[in-house]
């Protein structure tokens, strides 16, 4: 069995699966149950000055019958007194010394506030701190959470304040509600962050009730934006992790968060540069027991690839992620329809005909049976037909014979400007 242990900026845990700071990590009872189930770490629900919550807090998107494709919440940070949380953290750490407990923190953007809370939580033996600069609702209206996290200077300054007194590694949790997450990630690094985690939830309104015209969810007939998470946000999160991972000035470990529901998602985040992952929605949907398959599936995957340690996959796909300008303009793929597998729903045809490049023909064979065929010379390799195809293996996207050597847009522009300079030189 492969070694699943990770070390994220000095925080060690028996496996890369941590519970994110959220309702599942609200209490010692819950975190201890999670550790018993096999979770490697937990980021305790954000500590700060206790708040008041509203009733009706969560909502989810069911997509075509699949429940919890996306999830949102308007719950705030912990509503339990700090000393109660600290006592439970202490007890939990004592019972599970080898599991990672990270305290998520959120206070007003004042130096003394950060100093005070960092000292108090470190006193009870946490393995690390996570600064919550991401929570997009409620707390942001009071100048905390995402309100801080959207301003690089505030991120840097508060990280610095926390680092001034912290003895354990400091992770800065970033909000995705920003144009370029690498700006705040870099600010966190400049402030001395030992690691960054992303993404926090995305501003969202889940829906509107067609009869009452109330928002979903609503609190006594009124709603406010919530934070969106769950499987639907994974591609957004994965991109943000990857953008940070490949950024030359962001050189701290990343804790990946956002829509991770199973071991495969975790592998993707780790390949794209995450050292470990944090999970919430999947646990809220199914309970802590889902971690068993995450561990088992990850372990079997690594064994099947002959990889001894999960740490060996961290960042392995990052070099494959780049800018559009570095993609090969002369690489061609075309669609091939396997008529023996095709069930003749014609969805590829109409998708291509109406919305792409009109290159899938509806033909009739000698027996009068209809079939679909791609005019490969007109196919641009967009993938749309294979995306809408409902049957595995009916459409393959295959590499076409290369007509020209590889050339990227950037190379092309450089060549053109080089030629222009040469031409200018000649005319001179």
């Amino acid at each position: 069995m492969a070694d699943l242990r990770i070390n994220l900026a000095g925080i060690q845990s028996p496996n890369p699966f941590w519970l994110a700071s959220a309702p599942p990590t609200n209490s010692g009872y819950q975190v201890q149950r999670a550790f018993e189930a096999g979770w490697g770490g937990a980021v305790w629900k954000t500590l700060g000055d206790p708040i008041l919550n509203v009733s009706s807090r969560f909502a989810a998107v069911s997509f075509n019958g699949q429940r919890v494709a996306g999830f949102n919440n308007i719950e705030l940070i912990t509503d339990r007194p700090l000393d109660v949380n600290l006592k439970e953290i202490y007890e939990t750490k004592k019972r599970f010394p080898n599991h990672a407990i990270i305290a998520s923190l959120m206070v007003e953007p004042k130096q003394e506030k950060w100093h005070e809370i960092v000292k108090r939580v470190e006193d009870v033996g946490v393995d690390g701190l996570e600064l919550n600069f991401g929570c997009p609702h409620g707390m942001a209206e009071r100048g905390m959470g995402a309100a801080s996290g959207q301003v690089p200077a505030l991120v840097e300054r508060q990280t610095y304040w926390a680092k001034e007194v912290a003895n354990t590694p400091v992770i800065v949790k970033l909000t995705p509600n920003i144009t370029d997450i690498t700006a705040t990630a870099e600010a966190a690094c400049n402030g001395g962050a030992d690691a960054i985690s992303m993404i926090n939830t995305i501003n969202s309104l889940m829906g509107v009730d067609l009869d009452s015209w109330n928002t979903i969810p609503h609190v006594a007939g009124k709603g406010a934006h919530g934070g969106y998470c769950g499987p639907a946000v994974k591609p957004i999160a994965l991109n943000m992790v990857a953008e940070c991972a490949r950024h030359p000035h962001i050189n701290v470990p990343i804790s990946g968060i956002g829509g991770i529901s199973n071991w495969k998602d975790a592998v993707e985040f780790m390949l794209m540069g995450a050292t470990g992952v944090q999970i919430c929605t999947a646990a809220m949907h199914h309970g802590f027991r889902i971690v068993e398959d995450m561990i088992d599936g990850l372990s079997n995957y690594l064994d099947s690839k002959g990889i001894a340690s999960v740490s060996d996959i961290i960042g392995k796909s990052v070099p494959k992620y780049s800018d559009w300008g570095n993609l090969d303009l002369n690489y061609n793929i075309v669609a091939k329809i396997n008529t023996d597998v095709c069930i003749n729903c014609n969805k590829c045809h109409i998708a291509c005909e109406d919305t792409s490049h009109q290159c899938i023909d509806r033909l009739t064979d000698a027996n009068g049976m209809s079939f679909l065929k791609v005019r490969e010379e007109d196919c641009v390799g967009c993938n749309l037909c294979s995306i809408v195809c409902p049957v595995d293996g009916a459409i393959d996207m295959v590499e076409a014979v290369r007509e020209m050597p590889p050339m990227t847009w950037n190379e092309r522009q450089a060549a053109l400007s080089g030629a222009a300079i040469l031409k200018a030189d000649v005319t001179k």
Binding site: N262, W263, K264, I290, E292, D293, S304, D392
Partner: protein, 456 residues
């Protein structure tokens, strides 16, 4: 299952008739179906499975693409889980308990179980490792589901296990007794192979009482588990039973499983006596061997029939006719000693018997003769009395008495499980129940051994 065609009986190639009827799920079907599973907490399907397979977990692992984990989850609870995925009466067990029965339709648990175990089979996985040797030895008499299951568990716990199997191959009922079109032999062989990989020594063609004495086994092993199942079909006790063309259903089915199929039933008229699952097997095999007409004769009614509903339906689809309240009175032969007909008598139901079923009573002067070419007897199975007595075990008409907790027989060194302990009122003799008993015996032995070891 989009591509599934109804299989028609062909006389051109009888072997085609014995191909597995149910197609396995495609990858896409398995993914869609596994994602439909709710992943219930404390799920009723687990409780409905006699071997307690963690069904939501193995299904979740199919959904997540962790097929190795899925197959291990199944097989760790049920050493014959690949066979059971095909032969279990799932609508009475796991699928019958699925909570979706109350909202949409139940998850195809059996088919998903088959999907995961088929994958393990196809990819040649080794699922388990033998335990560290603990210096104790166990002899298992009989390599059927109960014996294999006990062996697998003991081998994983570090025991040195030897199976004594009378037939050419281990697997018992799964290898020889369940019709090929439900359960091909290769499935059973794979399960046997999984057990052999744990260094279990399987001595085939070795019948205890003939090739080795019970005494020798009892002396040479620390523990003995008797898992011999049941024997042949008993006599009907009517005239003409020794005529050519009268078959024991168990032997009849076994002959269809070992390769060469007989052509002698093509166009013939067959009657099967009895209405249990073995009778259905005898009837559907006859149809698949090309018989022109196949009738099941049963002295009671549809209500008392012990065959599973899905087997009954299957037989009807195969064109098997049912003659209720009909008992054989005499088998008639020609001068050459071949069956030509069977004299039947009509019955009616009388007062209830001890088991609650109404006693069939002959209607006087209702005899009539059915012209037939073959008679297949499927009225139950006899017990291995001689062997049980050779071991000197207390029994009730061939049902070995065991302590319900420890499975210990009257000889403290000898344990028993499977059909050999199933009597009336001791539960259903399903493959899956036998598998669980095998596990239970192994754990009971290990518990006992652990206690002994601690005491020393």
């Amino acid at each position: 299952m989009a591509n599934e065609k109804i299989q028609r009986i062909t006389l051109a190639n009888l072997e085609m008739n014995f191909q597995e009827v149910e197609q396995g799920l495609t990858n896409q079907e398995a993914v869609e179906e596994s994602n439909r599973c709710l992943y219930c907490y404390d799920a009723p399907c687990i409780k409905a499975c006699p071997t307690g397979i963690d069904i939501p977990t193995f299904i979740k692992k199919i959904a997540s693409g962790n097929l190795l984990g899925s197959a291990k989850t199944i097989m760790s609870s049920n050493p014959v889980g690949a066979s059971c995925s095909r032969v279990c009466p799932t609508d009475e067990l796991c699928e019958g308990a699925c909570v979706l029965n109350h909202s949409t339709k139940p998850i195809m648990i059996g088919n998903l179980q088959r999907y995961a175990t088929d994958w393990a089979m196809k990819t040649g996985q080794t699922l388990f490792q033998p335990g560290q040797a603990n210096g104790r030895s166990a002899a298992i008499i009989g390599g059927g589901p109960a014996g294999l299951s006990a062996s697998r568990e003991l081998a994983r716990l570090g025991y040195e296990v030897t199976i004594f199997e009378g037939s050419e191959k281990a697997g018992g009922l799964n290898t020889y007794g369940i019709v090929s079109f439900r359960l091909p032999q290769k499935i059973s062989y794979w399960e046997v192979e999984q057990v052999e990989k744990l260094n279990v020594n399987i001595r085939t063609n070795t019948m205890v009482g003939r090739d080795i004495s019970a005494e020798e086994i009892t002396e040479n092993f620390d523990y003995v588990i008797l898992a011999v199942g049941m024997a042949h079909v008993p006599n009907l006790g009517v005239e003409g039973e020794n005529l050519a063309g009268v078959y024991d259903a168990i032997e009849f089915v076994k002959a269809t499983k070992s390769g060469q199929l007989s052509e002698e039933f093509v166009g013939k008229r067959v009657v099967v006596i009895g209405a249990g699952n073995t009778a259905i097997d005898g009837a559907t095999c006859s149809v698949r061997l090309g018989a022109e007409n196949v009738k099941i004769l049963y002295r009671r009614t549809e209500e008392e029939m012990t065959a599973y509903d899905f087997e009954y339906e299957f037989a009807k689809q195969d064109g098997v006719e049912f003659r209720w309240l009909t008992a054989p009175k005499r088998i008639i032969g020609d001068d050459s000693g071949r069956v030509t007909g069977i004299e039947c008598i009509k019955m009616k139901l009388g007062e209830p018997e001890k088991d609650g079923r109404r006693r069939p009573v002959a209607i006087e002067e209702s005899e009539y003769i059915l012209p037939v070419d073959a008679v297949v007897k499927a009225i139950g199975q006899t017990r291995h009395l001689k062997l049980i007595e050779e071991f000197g075990l207390t029994h009730d008409r061939g049902v070995v008495k065991v302590d319900p907790e420890t499975f210990q027989t009257s000889n403290p060194k000898v344990f028993a499980c499977g059909d050999v302990v199933f009597g009336k009122g001791n539960g259903d003799a399903m493959v899956v129940t036998a598998a669980q008993q095998g596990k239970d015996v192994a754990h009971a032995i290990h518990k006992r051994y652990s206690v002994v070891r601690t005491a020393n």
